[in-house]
Symmetry: C2
Subunit: 451 residues, 2 copies
């Protein structure tokens, strides 16, 4: 049982391509859309598996050398799972981590940065239901207590145990309950614990975001798995929500650092649900080396492993947007031309505009709002020779409306995934941002329930 199963029948990986083609057909026919668009890890038309990666499905378990478990220790009043432990059994694993750039970063982020050996992590203690943010010195003490307890239970150095929390800001951790939960989780660790671990890190997520891949590299077969959460307060910078990636390949710490950094930039840092950078973003890659396959720097192995990691993180990032709070439709905005700063500002402005997002929700081809958002992001450039195309239909050239077939455009924006291409004067830059719509459900989730 997992959160996604009830909403999206698990796609047969073999037929993922066909499913994509079907959805593209439904899309051009203007079919209405009921929920997030992406069944399966590579379900979006914007994410595809490299030929050397095979999706093993949700039951495959973790890569060799990893165990995990999720338990309910009482942080969430609902009684749902809320505490997870992930451990790497290798003696000398390599790891890498990225954290939020927020000035109000949470205690677990501060503690990880200050005290952990981020290149040699052996375990993660994660919880949902409480972010342990805006909790001051007591928050740091609480985090350190839970870190110490996990280290003790796992016979590790506290510096080898990373912490990650998600949930409501400003509340203190229920340390006593968590200590019991830590003992319980550590007694239940298993290679198939990724499913309960995933559930233990979710908050407002409607669907799980979890993957188990098998990669065929020149030097042998390795596994790559990930568990990920995020639906609101999503606009990562230098990190992301919570995402834990495991492989049994042997990577040097500097290779792990390089690959996680590059791939996070192309995935988690290119998405927005609501433009709200979180206090708790964390992405951690852990490498057990248990496969015996070593990924040498600048080798074909590294290239292929990197391709697969890139595809995986992009797929997870798109799943996060598709599962954005209240999301019905998602879009990709691509900006070409101008310089890097202008292209980034224009893409972010469109992706974070509540007007563009509400129009996306309503299937309203109101591209004037995109022009407005770009103009607002680039003051002093009027008149700006902006080009806009939606689903390949050009609607604006050099800043002015051009004739187009209204009915065709209306059908194009009725699909589940909408592509918006913006052209700025000049050549050079190119960037993209994936974003979700603004719906009544987003307001309901964030106005009517205290979180």
């Amino acid at each position: 049982m997992n959160g996604r199963a009830g909403r999206h029948p698990q796609a047969d990986p073999v037929h993922a391509g066909a499913a994509r083609a079907d959805r593209a057909g439904a899309h051009t026919a203007g079919a209405d859309v009921a929920g997030p668009p992406a069944p399966g890890i590579f379900g979006s038309r914007w994410s595809c598996a490299p030929p050397h990666a095979r999706d093993l499905g949700p039951q495959a378990g973790l890569p060799r050398g990893f165990r995990a478990a999720g338990v309910a220790c009482g942080i969430k009043p609902s009684g749902n799972l809320d505490l997870g432990v992930l451990v790497c059994d290798d003696d000398a694993p390599a790891s890498a981590a990225r954290f939020t750039a927020s000035g109000t970063a949470a205690a677990p982020v501060l503690l990880c940065r200050e005290r952990c050996r981020l290149d040699a992590l052996r375990a993660v203690l994660a919880n949902s239901g409480c972010a342990n943010a805006a909790t001051g010195a007591r928050g740091l003490d609480d985090a350190a207590k839970t870190q110490g307890a996990a280290a003790l239970a796992l016979a590790l150095d506290p510096a080898e145990v990373a912490l990650a929390s998600t949930g409501a800001i400003s509340h203190h951790l229920p340390v006593e309950a968590m200590l019991k939960g830590i003992l319980q989780a550590c007694s239940r660790l298993s290679a198939h614990g990724d499913e309960s671990f995933q559930r233990a890190i979710q908050t407002t997520d409607r669907a799980e975001k979890r993957a188990n891949l098998e990669l065929t590299l020149p030097s042998g077969m390795v596994r790559l798995s990930a568990q990920c959460k995020g639906a609101g307060m999503i606009s990562p910078r230098f990190g992301t929500m919570l995402c834990f990636v495991e492989t049994d390949a042997a990577l040097r710490p500097e290779t792990a650092e390089l690959l996680l950094g590059v791939c996070a930039k192309r995935s988690f840092e290119r998405i927005s649900v609501d433009g709200q950078l979180s206090t708790n973003d964390a992405a951690i890659l852990m490498c057990s080396g248990a496969s015996g396959v070593a990924i040498a720097p600048e080798s074909e192995d590294e290239l292929r492993f990197g391709e697969a990691l890139d595809a995986l993180l992009r797929a997870l990032a798109i799943m996060m947007v598709a599962d954005g709070e209240g999301a019905r439709r998602i879009a990709r905005v691509i900006v070409r031309g101008g310089n890097e700063r202008n292209a980034e500002a224009a893409a972010r402005a469109v992706a974070n505009s509540p007007l563009v997002k509400a129009a996306l929700h309503g299937g309203d081809p109101n591209w004037g709002r995109m022009a407005q958002a770009v103009g607002a992001a680039l003051p002093g450039t009027a008149p700006l020779a902006l080009d806009i195309a939606i689903e390949g239909i050009q609607v604006c050239a050099s800043g002015a409306a051009v004739p187009y077939e209204e009915q065709g455009l209306r059908q194009a924006v009725a699909g589940a995934e909408i592509e918006i291409e913006l052209g700025l004067p000049g050549e050079g830059a190119e960037t993209e941002v994936y974003f979700s719509d603004l719906s009544h459900e987003y307001v309901t989730v964030n106005a009517e329930y205290t979180t």
Copy 2:
């Protein structure tokens, strides 16, 4: 008849203070709120009339030397008023104008900037239902045709006629229909035409934003009136939505420029409905001099006139936020400490956060989202010693939660106007931003109807 009357019974100006006190009482008692909070021009607790200004109410007509009219010429499919003309009958009036900073500024803004004598305007031609934005060279031609027609009908130089448009972006002006409307409006100009002119500039506004004041200056009595529209796509920079201000005082153009600039900075540039800078923002001050009272630079007259203009524009700005699309509650965020750039970034981040705005809508005292928004705006400052108080109740000190009475806080955020005070480390800067909430109605307005 005006749009506001049905929603807000017109407050008796004499009892405005008492009405404010009543509302403050209701507010601390946690009463629920049905609509925008501000009856009357100085209805908000954050705006008050200077002692030398008297609110004459909506029937007082324009200051001497001004006439106006609004007509329906068929731009709006609803048949509502959509074209307005405002004219100053003085031979040598002074004026000043501010326009949007948008890179995709609309044709009327571009034309005004390039061709108008902004310090000596004698008329305004305004329309709603079509923004004439993203319309390229044809948009400029269309704007010039309507400007020329208005000039001809009024026997003015086209450079003396300012243009202002609001409505959907990307559509072309229906020039033929407008030419008829211009003739009709010019034949109906009257000193009491401010009411129809106001209606002709409104779009999604639920309430009119119009004022008629009488000022007692050392050198004599003068009048000050304004008509203003704006409810969505509101985050002005160096200008505002549409606002037209008239006075029969005699100002030098440089005095008009100085006062409009300073007052716009303290009012229209300090509000946000949705963080979306418009393509069409325009604020125009026109001075007929018909009262015979001259406002000399650096005189007591200038000081008092400036105070009244400041109070008027702030009141209109707050009315715009209160009438923000779907708005139920409004808030003022004040940031003290830090430097000017950080304080501004923090205030804007809170005011434009969909999470903060949804919590405001729900009456949810979720201040963790304010901490998150500030942290996102100030990367690299963690751990940030942030202070937060809501309605005077301190909830966060030096970045950490402090104990407070939950029930009292919950009651405090149930009112119509919520005050949020943020403290950053260090001294010096202080700024404020007024903003509205994020509601289901905002989504409905912007998703379910093509605009």
